[in-house]
């Protein structure tokens, strides 16, 4: 989403922002329209060197924050996508087994010799395959990387417990080599969809922020940035409709990502304004559960649309 030349421009200014306003400008340069509260928390996280723990419903732009931050600060983005069964060898480090076995063979061919030296060689950094967490501790000419630990709730508790050491000391201990400590701690962003509760011990080490659905003005601003060239009237109707939807009791409320998708969909259909039929036909872009779609389809959606249009008329738009 961020153009190449732009990303290159930003490479130069990898210093951390000095004020909350600067954070806001930074995010907005990366096309991320942030709340003041988010900018404040992010500023504090950067300033205090603490991990930022972002929780929120799916599709409210949690992951995007890390991406934008990395791009605008010109830092490397190291992403660790969590999943069930994530373990040390895919998250932290792995030994290069084929090379190790080759080394053993070579040592044999050379006539055995010093067994202890072999052991030392086999588990030296040369044979180490670095995975995201270890990569994030490595120094980088552009400055400490942004470490994104995405959807932490998908892993299990043992992995969380492991993260405790990494996040409080920014240090990883490899038994054969010893502790590896980051010279400059990475900027850590953790996201969670809340499919289970993250342990308090981990939360305690982080700054917490609940990413909420945006207000109408902010959502409008987001649409302007993300889907440029859409008629003002249409985007106002879309935002009004989605904001109304979020007040109804649905199983899964539409997130910002859905709003953007829907706007794009309507733009592809060359619509300049919403009408009940179009809404019915494209509701699947917005709502992802059959129950929710069945509830909204037809008269319910038409009612909401009428209300949105009335509101807009009364405001003289």
């Amino acid at each position: 989403m961020i153009s190449r030349s732009f990303a290159l421009d930003c490479k130069i200014m990898s210093a951390l922002p000095e004020s909350i306003d600067a954070v806001e400008t930074l995010l907005s340069r990366g096309d991320y329209v942030a709340d003041r509260s988010l900018a404040t928390t992010l500023f504090l996280a950067l300033k205090m060197g603490r991990p930022l723990f972002l929780e929120g419903e799916a599709g409210v732009g949690k992951t995007e924050i890390a991406k934008v931050l990395a791009a605008t600060l010109g830092r490397r983005l190291v992403r660790l996508q969590c999943y069930e069964g994530l373990d040390l060898s895919s998250a932290v480090y792995e030994w290069n087994y084929p090379r190790q076995m080759l080394e053993i063979r070579l040592a044999e061919a050379a006539g055995g010799g010093d067994k202890e030296a072999l052991a030392r060689d086999l588990f030296s950094p040369d044979f180490l395959v670095e995975r995201p967490l270890l990569q994030a501790l490595k120094p980088d000419p552009a400055g400490a990387p942004v470490l994104l630990i995405d959807e932490l709730d998908r892993t299990d508790e043992p992995f969380e417990a492991y993260l405790l050491e990494v996040l409080s000391d920014f240090q990883i201990t490899i038994p054969e080599i010893g502790p590896i400590k980051a010279a400059e701690p990475p900027i850590v962003i953790i996201t969670s969809n809340r499919t289970r509760e993250i342990h308090d011990a981990l939360k305690r080490r982080c700054l917490y922020y609940w990413v909420d659905y945006p207000s109408a003005e902010r959502e409008l601003a987001i649409l302007e940035r993300k889907v440029p060239g859409v008629q003002k009237r249409l985007s106002r109707e879309i935002v009004g409709f989605v904001q109304h939807l979020r007040e109804t009791e649905l199983f899964k409320l539409p997130g910002v990502a859905e709003t953007i998708d829907w706007t794009r969909a309507l733009a592809f259909l060359d619509k300049v304004s919403l009408d009940p039929e179009t809404i019915d036909n494209t509701l699947g872009v917005l709502l992802k559960y059959q129950d929710d779609i069945a509830k909204m389809k037809g008269s319910e959606a038409a009612n909401i649309l009428r209300q949105v249009q009335q509101d807009m008329a009364s405001l003289g738009i």
Binding site: E84, K115, D153, R196, F251
Partner: protein, 413 residues
Amino acid sequence: MVLLPDPTSGQNGEGGAFATNIVHFVRLLRASGLRLGPGKAMDAVRAVEVAGIRRRDDLYWTLFSVLVNRRDQRDLFDQAFHIFWRDPKILERMMSLLLPQAEGTAEPSKSNMSQRLRQALLPGQGEARASNEKKEVEIDATLTFSADELLQKKDFADMTAEEMDQAKAAMARIDWPFRPARTRRLQPDARGHRIDLRASLQASLRTGGTIIPLKRKSPGERPPPLVVVCDISGSMSQYSRMFLHFMHALSNDRSRVHSFLFGTRLTNISRMLRQRDVDKALTAVSERVPDWSGGTRIGATLAEFNRLWSRRVLGQGAVVLLLTDGLDREGGEGLPREMERLHKSCHRLIWLNPLLRWDGFEPKAAGIRAILPHVDDFRPVHNLSSIADLAHALSHESDAGNRLKLNLGRLAA
């Protein structure tokens, strides 16, 4: 401090009165439910020797550091300490506890003394010597005796204290063998299907690299998360108290247990139940829950559960225990849809219904008919044997299908 005759004698002489008192104090704590082995008594005596007692609070904190290892034991220790180290007759009472044929005669001096401590100080009077063994069991059982103040808050129907104790003791004994769910995390396994190269190469170093012994691994197993959703409406009031103990036992037995209560609204009580001390846990619950023994809105509360909680607690193959009689004030309105959603969101849905104690139970009420098609298993919970059956059922899935078919057949007929 009367019993502290001469501090120096306790410090110097082995087996002095002071050491004996400490041993008795440890026995008192043990009888009140702290798990203290004989080694702890020796540690306590030695600690007091090392610390050297000059002041009362020195003694307090010395004993505290040795004897208390959980936060919720603090209050009990505090009360026991103040009673024991002040009351000169305490030793006699302790003797009466240790020798059941001698009758304890003293009255409890403090009205707000912990129920457990009181029981430990004053074992039942007039018991024959023959019941020696039984008596010890009783003292154990008082561990979990629920304090009166809990009762004042809500009208849990009349389950006698004796029944309560039995139920509690039985529940504590039940080993909850939930069918473990397979995880994707691999663990060492000599007969596993995957080769663990990391372990193999590490092992090969022991032979200097000449032999690489093949180490294997396979997916591990762990018990699935458990979600208990319990009805506390008026029609269930006879059972809700026992179920709370049941939920408390579950919460403390294993990790990843979430508990919810519902009547006219839904309350998450998982955190409160995680307290080890059952009295404290239940007091906290009763303060939190506003709708004891009121009406039931099963459909509406399940809708709330589905909307707000299902995504947060039903991940990773959760098993849901739904404790309700299915009698709904709103006549099962909206219930089928919510049950279907709940059933689809969890790995296994087990309905525990106390009404099933009657052999001729027929699913007539609208709520019951709405719930039945959407459960994997359907069991009675009204006495201890049914709870023991439940424990069995949770570990043997095959047995469940039959029962369900049977009941559905009955429903269709």
